[in-house]
Symmetry: C2
Subunit: 202 residues, 2 copies
């Protein structure tokens, strides 16, 4: 059996990654989520082991040294990382995993697992991005300013990704990603086992 898909949803903060991922998980029930580890404090409503694995910085650094992360990054003073073992186990079992991560993390995953499907979510405009970050009401003015500056720099990375989705309407953006996921399942390189089987029959 061929491996499942590792679908990496990434893009600037406020582009709408989270909303899109939630919608995808509802509408494509075969998708599994990868839970990240972080040293950031839980936001209201976030649950340990579901939203994130919330761990202390000392423990996080120990795991980095042990090579236990598929990717990790320090963003706005906090560490975020994806545990390798969980993800690889799921892929080997043929499960499709969705990974919502920032751009630094996505580029590391690409290096460690180039077979992944890398999708970059773009805001339709700078103004819209600012509105969304402010509307979330979770960040200080300073943090918002830093996020906006980052977004500008991060656009340079769009071409490191396989796909780029402009998130002007969440429904439309989600539909596009659904097509991508269903299309990627038919990639020749992902169907070596099946093609081999037909050839043997012939």
């Amino acid at each position: 059996m061929d491996d499942g898909l590792l679908i990496v949803i990434s893009g600037p903060s406020g582009a709408g990654k989270g909303t899109i991922c939630k919608k995808l998980l509802t509408e494509m029930d075969f998708l599994k989520v990868s839970v990240s580890a972080t040293t950031r404090k839980p936001r209201k409503g976030e649950i340990d082991g579901i939203s994130y694995y919330f761990i202390e910085e000392e423990e996080f650094i120990k795991r980095i040294k042990n090579g236990e992360f598929l990717e990790y990054a320090k963003v706005y003073g906090n560490y975020y990382g994806t545990p390798k073992d969980e993800v690889f186990k799921q892929l080997k079992e043929g499960n499709d995993i969705i990974l919502e991560i920032d751009i630094q993390g996505a580029l590391q995953v690409k290096k460690n697992y180039p077979m992944g499907v890398f999708i970059f979510i773009l805001p339709p405009s700078l103004k819209e991005l600012q509105n969304r970050i402010e509307g979330r009401g979770t960040d200080s003015k300073e943090v918002i300013l830093r996020r906006m500056e980052c977004a500008y720099d991060e656009l340079n990375y769009a071409f490191e990704y396989d796909y780029v989705i402009i998130n002007d309407q969440v429904d439309k953006a989600t539909e596009k990603i659904k097509h991508i996921i269903l299309a990627e399942k038919n990639k020749a390189v992902r169907n070596k086992a099946i093609i081999r089987k037909i050839r043997e029959e012939l």
Copy 2:
């Protein structure tokens, strides 16, 4: 504006390329078809300039020498080819072109236009392939035998393609190709103009 998609539908004779292409053209009305040139005699119901451009061998060879074909091949004693000028003009205008061609032709197109979307249609089994070719009732026993031998060899080329579709049910196979077409439109390399625009606004 970025170029349209050149969608190349290929695979062994009898795999169902033609039926799938007809269905795609009905269900995705933005797709345009590329009309091939051939020296083969028209089958019943085929119309010159729509099914094919039916031309004489002398004229065909002249056009090969002039480099007027995106691809050409001699198959079962007849020449088949895709005129370059028509296809490139359509792509530049942003139109998506669908090209139904044999494997030799598809590999040439890949060399000349690697930005194309290369889709390999596979029969679910050898027996099914034989049933289909015989059911068509247009080929002699000798031709059928040659086609079957070719199909076996041609399976080796599956990995030269981007996607592989097993055509066990035409509806399902067509659905998969629709996902591929809609997904490919979001490829980062195909959206340079749009990404540049957003970056300039930011």
